[in-house]
Amino acid sequence: MIRIDCPICGLRTETEFTYGADATVTRPAMDETATQPWVDYVFNRDNPRGWHLEYWHHVQGCRQWLVLERNTLTHEVGSCRLAREVDHEAS
């Protein structure tokens, strides 16, 4: 059982959360007209064997979207932050 340290609710089990998606891909600029950047964004993934940044939704808790650092080989969990703050830092 994976346990996730939600910044708002504290340590909770994975059944309260829903896995969202890979949090490392960024949408191309809306005026991007080439095909490949959009294909890379929508379909292609690094799919790492090891540490992975991913979106989780605390759907049975505070309903916040989170960015979780998790190891895909060991299921070890690293940092967990609110997605809106991570996105804010990025922009």
Binding site: Y19, D22, R45, D46, N47, R49, T72, H75
Partner: protein, 418 residues
Amino acid sequence: MTKYSALSVFLEGLRGNKSWSRAWRDPEPKAEYDVVIVGGGGHGLATAYYLAKEHGITNVAVVEKGWLGGGNTGRNTTIVRSNYMMPGNTLFYERSMKLWENLSQDLNFNVMISQRGQYNLCHSPGQMDAARRRGNVMRANGIDAELFDRAEVQQRLPYLDYSEHARFPIHGAIYQSRAGTARHDAVAWGFARGADQYGVDILQQREVTGYLYEGGKVVGVQTNKGDIKAGKVALCVAGHSGHLAQMAGLRLPIETHALQAFVTEPYKPLIDTVISFGAAHFYVSQSDKGGLVLGGDLDMYNSYAQRGGLPMVEHTLASAKALIPSLSRLKLLRHWAGVMDMSMDGSPFITKTPVDGLYLNGGWCYGGFKATPASGWCFAHTIAKDAPHEDNAEFTLDRFNRGYQIDEKGVGPQPNAH
């Protein structure tokens, strides 16, 4: 090499079973091969077998990091069927079904194909309509499909829950009578023995760690026990395709996810067919030893761990109990997980890659076992002719660039939803 027959079993029995020969050799690798196949599971060994048998290419090596069939070939729930309706899938899986039907004779190895039929249950009028449409597409392509109403299903499968308390009412089922199960390990062993007889070298305990290049073209593999040169390198490593493609600088439309399966204690004959629940992701059959083989849904998060989490154990067993209440007191004997190449549209890849000299077979989601013979057959054709056969022509990487996804379930680019 001994040819297996009733007579050879009888004669060996008289001799105390002392003179059987090895089923395949354990050779030292040559310095160079025409084709090196990475991955000694069913798909890789089938590819080697059909390269030799159909195309006369016998200077081939299969490189396996562990032992034969130790990956997903040995971790699936052994179901074979061909009830696909999207163009690109339908005839490919039917080719596989036809190869399964004669595989034991072709390989001279009993793969224990058992065409016991498969029911896909429907739990709403909408699902019945979808099943009718699927059945019509199958029949238009010459594949057997029958639609049964609730009364017919109740007569055929009396042990399902038809009470008014059933969590999901059963409205009917779509049935493929030629579907069934096969012995998964025997498939790997049969193809290995068949390929070996044509002179293919099977190299176990040898892990690929990188590729050899000449002017941007892949010309061999680096392994933990030395380099091997090759005219062509073919990946058959579903579950780890992303990882091995990354070594060649490729990003694939694939995420790796774990899927769990279960076997119960042996039980008297109860389920003489394959049943798929339509309300949740759950399927069940009974092995010849009596254990019920149960499968469920993905754990939903990316994983290379080959082990699953407890929430999905509960989900699978709750589904089993909801569908067949009499299973409630059976004990589980074993439980395991395999890691899947979950592709972005739920369909596989059998294709050349943008890297010259590198060929890809992967993206099987959780449907790779049934595809094993046709996958090898089509991949061998693609490698030998440098062009796909018409049955795998749609399984390219660039279908995503062209907007031609083969999305059987219609859920979009969300790998864990397929």
